[in-house]
């Protein structure tokens, strides 16, 4: 089964190259950081906000755009579609676990999708962004780990909501709920440093910031190596917990699915 993974990755990459138009649509839906950048720049025009000047906001939101693309998953729509249409049956016959299959296809498509962010990064660097990112090689190594775990978290949450389609007709409403919370609590619309109490302590215990704002802060050198390591630990805990829940729901769901006669 492990031997199949490189081939699956190749197929996933080829598919990503084939569906370019779909990808443009996808990229356009990730432009919110640019809107937020315009907004916060306007706010910071009268002076820095909590230590964030216009350049800091620019660095933050450009990084947010790139990180968001790099840790993206879309398995919730795929699962929802396949479960409702009964197409999952064909996947269940394959020797590879469907979720692992989705995961490899998803990972393989990421380089192509992230390629759209390259111009943004180049422009950002040309405008002096290079001074605003961390220069610590250890930190960069940790960033890679952070990004990967952030992706795994995102994938598992989506897989969980997708799996709920076995039980519940409108499970996608739950995903809307999740996205709503994610947008506010992950640092997608504002750097979390700006958030006052009592919101800040609520956000701290939620998983969302480990999916986005922590990698951003690590890249920008806003958190120390020790803090980054601690964040990796928290991510691992979330991944372990989510994995367990996904597996349990999946098993219960597939049993139900079989009962459908699909």
């Amino acid at each position: 089964m492990i031997r199949a993974i490189p081939t699956m990755l190749r197929i996933g990459f080829a598919e990503a190259v084939a569906y370019r138009a779909e990808m443009v649509v996808w990229v356009l839906s990730y432009t919110m950081p640019l809107v937020m950048l315009a907004l916060w720049s306007a706010v910071a025009a009268d002076g820095p906000v909590q230590g964030y000047g216009q350049a800091d906001f620019a660095a933050y939101f450009v990084t947010a755009l790139v990180v968001r693309m790099m840790v993206a998953a879309w398995v919730v729509w795929e699962l929802n579609f396949e479960i409702k249409q009964g197409r999952l049956a064909a996947r269940l016959l394959r020797p590879m676990h469907p979720l692992l299959h989705f995961a490899t296809m998803n990972l393989a498509a990421l380089p192509m999708r992230t390629a759209f962010a390259i111009p943004v990064v180049v422009i950002g660097f040309a405008l002096g962004g290079a001074d605003l990112v961390t220069h610590d090689p250890v930190q960069w190594l940790l960033v890679v780990v952070l990004l990967f775990l952030a992706w795994v978290m995102t994938f598992l949450v989506q897989a969980l909501v997708g799996t709920l389609a076995f039980f519940w007709e409108s499970s996608l409403a739950l995903f809307d709920l999740y996205m709503t919370a994610y947008v506010v609590c992950s640092g997608y619309v504002m750097p979390l440093d700006l958030v006052p109490e009592p919101f800040a302590s609520v956000i701290d215990v939620l998983p969302f910031r480990y999916q986005l704002s922590v990698p951003i802060e690590a890249i920008l050198g806003r958190i120390t190596v020790a803090e980054t390591l601690q964040a990796v630990g928290v991510q691992l805990a979330w991944v372990a917990g989510l994995f367990l829940v996904v597996m349990l729901t999946w098993r219960a769901g597939v049993r139900r699915f079989a009962a459908f006669g699909g």
Partner: protein, 265 residues
């Protein structure tokens, strides 16, 4: 029976179908209404954070910005209640190749797909949005004139027209690119920017948000009208943009439906 009468009856039938579906899934209805509360909170948090840090942003005070969020929420209810469900349905039809059956029916295809599905739970959004408008006018001591209210209502109607036209454009796009599960996601994520007063944006962003994705026209202008500060130039822009979008939407639909080749080839 006249043409208009026939279509009104058809609309009644489609709405009744959606209502019946909702009655079947009552738990979902109440969950969705509950989600509205949560969603409103999530919309307001960034705004509250912003106005904790600053008293005015680009000349907007908190109650005034809240007016924009109010219009944003009202439009969101139209989007989620009447537009998005049908969009999902069409994308599904295109994917499965069943759009052919709709095209064969003896009624205007655009009308049929546009009214395919409604989501009555979104009335909760509408109530919340109107509540925000009233509350904002109350705390901001904004007393709109009759003309202002009329202008705001007209602009709101225009905004619904623009939303609908963008919807038609997205559906037309789904004929070209079949694998578009995330079209609705695109739609709602771009619309999200409409919650901020348009005049915050400068330069290229301001032009884009007025003419290309006219979010400013949709939510900021009605708020300006309620405050009686809408200029003649802005009003003219709104009329122009709305007319362009409605005409453009229909034109693109007619063209793309003409070129549509079903999934079967």
């Amino acid at each position: 029976m006249t043409r208009v009468g026939r279509y009104l009856r058809l609309l009644g039938v489609q709405v009744r179908m959606s209502l019946l579906t909702t009655l079947q899934y009552r738990a979902d209805f109440w969950i969705e209404c509950g989600l509205t509360v949560f969603w409103i909170a999530a919309t307001l948090v960034p705004l509250i954070v912003l106005f904790e840090l600053r008293d005015t942003v680009a000349g907007w005070r908190w109650p005034e910005a809240l007016l924009v969020v109010g219009f944003f929420t009202v439009l969101k209810s139209v989007l989620g209640g009447a537009i998005q469900p049908s969009l999902d349905a069409v994308v599904q039809h295109v994917r499965n190749g069943t759009l052919d059956f709709i095209l064969l029916k003896p009624a205007d295809a655009q009308f049929l797909v546009s009214t395919a599905k409604f989501s009555p739970a979104r009335v909760a959004d509408l109530v919340a949005g109107l509540g925000m408008l009233v509350y904002a006018m109350h705390i901001g001591d904004i007393r709109p004139s009759v003309g202002g209210v009329l202008a705001a209502l007209l602009l709101l109607a225009g905004a619904v027209g623009i939303l609908y036209s963008i919807w038609i454009l997205v559906v037309s796009l789904s004929f070209l690119v079949v694998k578009v599960d995330n079209l609705t996601f695109l739609f709602s994520s771009i619309y999200d920017a409409a919650r901020w007063p348009g005049s915050i944006f400068r330069g290229v962003a301001a032009v884009l948000l007025t003419f290309v994705v006219p979010l400013t026209v949709m939510t900021t202008y009605p708020a300006l009208a309620l405050r009686d500060v809408l200029t003649a130039r802005e009003a003219a822009t709104a009329v122009f943009v709305t007319a362009m979008f409605i005409a453009g939407g229909r034109w693109v639909w007619m063209r793309s439906i003409g070129r549509y080749t079903s999934a079967g080839g």
